[in-house]
Subunit: 367 residues, 2 copies
Amino acid sequence: MHFYIKPKKKEEVLSTLKALGESFLKDIEDGKNPSVEIPVRTLRNVKFDAKERKIFLGGYVSKRYLLHLGQIRNFTQLAGVASLSKNLIEENKHISLREAFYILKRNIPGLHKNIVDEQEESNKAIEDLELVINALREQLHINANKLGAVAGNVVIRDRGDLIDWSKLGSGGWSVPSNVEDIEFVKVNAKFILYIEKSAVWERLHEDKVWKKLNCIIVASQGQATRGIRRLLQRLSYEHGLPIYVLTDLDPWGIYIYSVIKFGSIALAHISDRLAIPSAKFLGLTVDDVKKYGLEKHLIKFKEIDMKRLEQIREYEWFKNNKEWQRQFDLMKEMETKAELEALSARGITFISEKYLPEKIKSGEFLD
Amino acid sequence: MHFYIKPKKKEEVLSTLKALGESFLKDIEDGKNPSVEIPVRTLRNVKFDAKERKIFLGGYVSKRYLLHLGQIRNFTQLAGVASLSKNLIEENKHISLREAFYILKRNIPGLHKNIVDEQEESNKAIEDLELVINALREQLHINANKLGAVAGNVVIRDRGDLIDWSKLGSGGWSVPSNVEDIEFVKVNAKFILYIEKSAVWERLHEDKVWKKLNCIIVASQGQATRGIRRLLQRLSYEHGLPIYVLTDLDPWGIYIYSVIKFGSIALAHISDRLAIPSAKFLGLTVDDVKKYGLEKHLIKFKEIDMKRLEQIREYEWFKNNKEWQRQFDLMKEMETKAELEALSARGITFISEKYLPEKIKSGEFLD
């Protein structure tokens, strides 16, 4: 059988999980070999939709059987995760990927084999299940790490608490790993700023940027966590807010933007729930180096930077983008990178009072 | 001249900075060579006070002159940081270590030399200044990275906001890099739990551990940031709360505990403001492996784990501690480590409902 429903609510996820288990049971009762179809997640099945500007998973599907020497282990792992998730949802408990691993590292009664022996196995089974029942891992109540903070004119409801993101002092609200159940009660903002570095977030927060520019400021450290990406996407889709991504000028910063906007290869199967194709790049550009007099503060490329740059410029979603290719050409020529913090050489609050307002006003975004 | 006052309030830090600058000026006007005494921070000057159980800096002091070919650079960097900090405090702005570097990477008028060329230089000058005026870097308005979250029955005032740590949903309050200006308005808790992993924090938070055990739960990821350590110390000292540290059973977890309790070699000069000698270890022990049936979930030591274990057991603060040496002996014998998440194999909420209450009730702490 092949599940391809799009469950949105908790009850739907739960009933899909139950239906999956029942279909296995029925196959057994009918003397059939239980099976499940899983879209293939290898690179050859990862595509880029140039029109929608989103990485997505192609149509290749593989069928996995219970009674098959090479497939029984994967099949059992998938069933194990499905059973665990069903219990979690029913008990309204959430666990981490690491906890899921330890829980599944147990003997199958009557056998001297564990369901999983390594976390890679449980992680893979969880990702497979995401695909099979078309729900997010977070909807299966399994979370990754929590990271990042947010501030802005927003009020949310979460676990019964009413939380005002504009009244949380210097710290802000700590973004949980799972934002699926958060309810946005009031959202008063014109756009969202995702910042690559928490130290820069603290700069903008102290300078009251979210108040002055009427926006929401969000940061984790480096790549945005899934929790953050879901938060950005929900705010963008449910409240029509543009997302601006603020990073350093280097291949790593540009890839942070790329993942937020187009999705990633590893998570191509859930681009729909993570990617934000309308996101814009508000980070440092090669042109900013001259414009803001940062020449003195450039940092020499290491070999690994150049290598990463060469990889990124070849990505399908950048390959035919003239603006970006121009940036890549110039970066290659300069062989240097520049950090957001370099702007502080122009004045402590330069980034808050000049750089951001000017760029946003003039609409100088890379897309 | 030699500063060794203990400035506590903002005004005191500011006046000490001014006095430092004025002393330099006066020396110049008097035709003297301006100088400053800085306690030596090399390993030979780092000691352990067995009675107070705290790492501290010994009495070696070096004198640094402005007009000295080998010292003028360091002297100027120190003066540069002092001047920057004075401005920051007066303008009530905070910056990151990275921003401080970029601000100080500027020409001295009339010379073709930068005050600093590398961040290591500005970092070192900032640490020197901490010593010279006996104030925390945070009091100089220079911060490191922000990380971590907190929840509990506590109300604080910060930047004019009244923040209730018990009403922040699943996320909690995001701990800023600098907690010096936070005011504790209401603290209703019996102890504080510092957790090595944010995923375990989410476990305890979902299970309402802080409510059930009447405590405060704090986590960052790995080593506690300075912001977190200051938060723990302030809560411990100002409100008499014991600190319990919850980590994995491995040399890295034990070192996280070690730093919170005894301080660190690198920051020996500010142990007074960071170390919490009364902190107790509530993490997994070798005995817990048997007691809670975790044998199945042990992870084989890598070479680096064994090496780190050998280093840690030789630290002066562990060397004469029989209890810890017994743990180290057994760890060496087993050659394995165990993670907190392994407890979830006993049940999702086992850590919250069994492990923690039992251990705390029976007072089973390593000290």
